[in-house]
């Protein structure tokens, strides 16, 4: 394969059509409940929506992956198991899972269903990834955003599995699926409820020309009149550790690894993933289109065009994140 597979997000049927039309190779989405890590109000797909999405995408030779990547609640496994069963029945091309118990269920009940390991499983080393492959037949792993490109290369050299990496969008500075910050401030977490810093607990408080953001009982940022805003996400907030307030964990910034395509190819990466199931179809169309253009040029051995995605990114800045060691 000369290029990469381009994996694109969709939070709504309209976004799915935008992604397919803009050149996605596969679109990932979630059911409309707590079984997926973007369980946001008004977002996601009913079973009927998924059936239509599969029909639309397959007619255009595009695949559909369903993310069932939260951790099933103790004593209440049924919604997650049903999600896996329904995904299989709806003939999606893969399910993206994180929980060990659910992986075991899917592998046992649906041996023909293609399994991908979610970034929420945070499998960051060859030993861990090999375990998922051998125990459950996982075919692809979405790598956590904690690895450098050389680390990814060594991993690919050691384990016979497809790797998928994030190239654009919101960046978790923490190892994904191993973070209870949101839960500490709000009681709701990515692992349990599929939400991080949920909107239901966010309040904006005007303070003169400044704007304070509160998450639960805590002030996570105060931005002045001329400062760009970021997502009201805990780890993108500004805190005091020492003397002055600073973006302690991460600046309001977006990952954009478009400049690293040659390195990622050399590292053996199979698929590139765009983050943003919670973003609008305008974002999906613009970002997917830009990446398709870049990948087409890259596959043809031409220079990757400089594409302007500045308007789409958080805080108006972009980073290559953990892919470069200096981020640490």
């Amino acid at each position: 394969m000369d290029g990469f597979e381009l994996i694109c997000p969709a939070g709504t049927p309209a976004a799915l059509r935008a992604a397919v039309d803009a050149g996605a190779d596969a679109v990932y989405l979630g059911f409309r409940d707590e079984t997926n890590a973007r369980n946001f109000p008004g977002l996601n797909f009913t079973r009927d929506d998924v059936a239509e999405a599969v029909a639309y995408a397959h007619a255009r030779k595009v695949e559909v992956f369903v993310a069932i990547n939260t951790y099933p609640q103790a004593g209440n496994l049924a919604p997650w198991q049903r999600a896996v069963d329904d995904a299989a029945r709806l003939k999606v091309d893969a399910v993206i899972l994180a929980d060990l118990g659910l992986l075991e269920y899917a592998a046992r009940r649906h041996p023909d269903l293609r399994l991908h390991l979610s970034v929420q499983a945070s499998a960051a080393n060859a030993e861990a990834i090999r375990l998922y492959r051998e125990a459950f037949g996982v075919r692809r792993v979405v790598l956590p955003r904690v690895l450098t490109v050389p680390e990814i290369a060594r991993l690919n050299a050691e384990v016979d599995i497809e790797t998928e990496v994030f190239v654009f969008g919101g960046l978790c500075p923490m190892a994904e699926g191993r973070c209870s910050l949101s839960s500490y401030a709000t009681g709701l977490s990515p692992n349990k409820q599929g939400v991080c810093s949920p909107a239901s607990h966010v309040r904006y408080e005007p303070r003169g020309t400044a704007l304070a953001t509160k998450l639960g009982d805590f002030t996570i940022n105060v931005v002045g009149a001329d400062e760009p805003a970021g997502y009201p996400t805990l780890c993108k907030g500004r805190f005091v550790a020492g003397d002055t307030p600073a973006y302690l964990f991460e600046e309001p910034t977006s990952l954009n690894a478009m400049d690293l395509l040659p390195e990622l190819k050399a590292a053996g990466v199979h698929a590139l993933k765009i983050e943003g199931r919670q973003r609008g179809k305008a974002y999906i169309g613009a970002v997917v289109g830009a990446y398709r253009e870049a990948l087409t040029a890259f596959a043809a051995g031409q220079p990757v065009p400089r594409l302007d995605l500045q308007a789409m990114v958080e805080g108006g800045t972009q980073t290559t994140g953990a892919y470069k060691r200096a981020w640490r």
Binding site: L100, L131, Y132, V146, R178, S180, L181, D217
Partner: protein, 306 residues
């Protein structure tokens, strides 16, 4: 099974002398049954403790403590992997796995599953038990209902179930070092600034509310998790083991208080009041009560004798 007390690994970067003295006192005075040792937060800190490790383990073992070794939380680089592999494949040691890589290497051999492994439900517990887990320590963010279900599943599968009842809650791990970042440094040239903060670096909001504590690449709660008032309920659920996570306070006194609580000699409210005076942070229990972890929910006597 008689409920037992576990002392979790020291998560902070204490000077090695302090670290060695801490364990000497634990060996001699703390009524804990199991002591888990090992540097699990940062690979760069590990060499400081390597030389003293043998002595500490010997002392604890001689005092009748069961000693387990904890594997690192985040294992990505080659050197981290090699260290993890050396630890896990070592002879005659019981390992508490905190990463799926370590868990992979422990298959078929009795081992413990640490609180950094995502164990949220009975299906996962059953799978882990099938691979040789004999004890599991649950993630801090689990609510009471989940703990109860998992304790029951633990009984069914012969796996001891543990819950952290004291100490700052571990909330997140990163490849990036926030201690270094807060000091304008890079992880590679961190000058081990995390050594300045034996209980973590205080993080407050821009409105001056105490919020979190940074411990190198780890982020912890500012509030000190305390389930003294819930202990009786935990025992009734079938939880076997209670974890105390070391803070820079008199941990012997903490262990004694919880031992008296387990033995029915003191009540939870009384113990919570004592512990509240011991540490410079509010006691929190919100996770257990299915609300914000930073909150303290009054237990309304549900778990207490009349």
């Amino acid at each position: 099974m008689m409920p037992s007390l576990t002392l979790g690994p020291v998560l902070f970067n204490w000077p090695v002398d302090r670290w060695r003295d801490f364990y000497a006192r634990i060996a001699d005075e703390a009524p804990v049954d199991t002591v888990i040792v090992g540097e699990i937060v940062c690979f760069k800190r590990a060499p400081f403790f390597a030389d003293a490790m043998g002595e500490v383990v010997e002392r604890l073992t001689a005092a009748g403590k069961t000693v387990w070794f904890a594997s690192p939380i985040l294992v990505g680089s080659d050197r981290e992997r090699a260290a993890m592999r050396d630890l896990v494949t070592g002879e005659g040691m019981t390992i508490e796995a905190n990463d799926m890589g370590a868990l992979a290497l422990l298959a078929g051999r009795p081992h413990a599953v640490g609180p950094m492994i995502n164990l949220y439900n009975e299906a996962t517990l059953a799978w882990l038990a099938g691979r040789g887990a004999v004890a599991v320590s649950l993630p801090a963010e689990l609510p009471a209902a989940s703990v109860a279900t998992l304790a029951k599943a633990g009984r069914e599968h012969g796996v001891a179930v543990e819950v952290q009842v004291f100490g700052r809650a571990p909330l997140a791990i990163s490849a990036r070092c926030y201690h270094a970042r807060a000091h304008g440094l890079h992880k590679d040239g961190c000058q081990f600034v995390c050594g300045n903060d034996p209980d973590g670096l205080a993080v407050t909001t821009m409105d001056g509310q105490p919020f979190l504590a940074v411990n190198g690449t780890q982020t912890m709660s500012h509030g000190c998790l305390c389930l003294a008032e819930e202990l009786e309920a935990l025992v009734a659920m079938g939880v076997d083991r209670f974890r105390l996570s070391p803070q820079a306070v008199d941990m012997v006194r903490v262990a004694q208080a919880f031992r008296a609580l387990i033995d029915g000699e003191r009540d939870g409210r009384d113990v919570a009041a004592e512990l509240g005076g011991l540490i410079d942070a509010p006691l929190v229990n919100g996770f257990f009560h299915d609300t914000a972890g930073a909150r303290h929910v009054a237990s309304a006597g549900a778990a207490l004798p009349a």
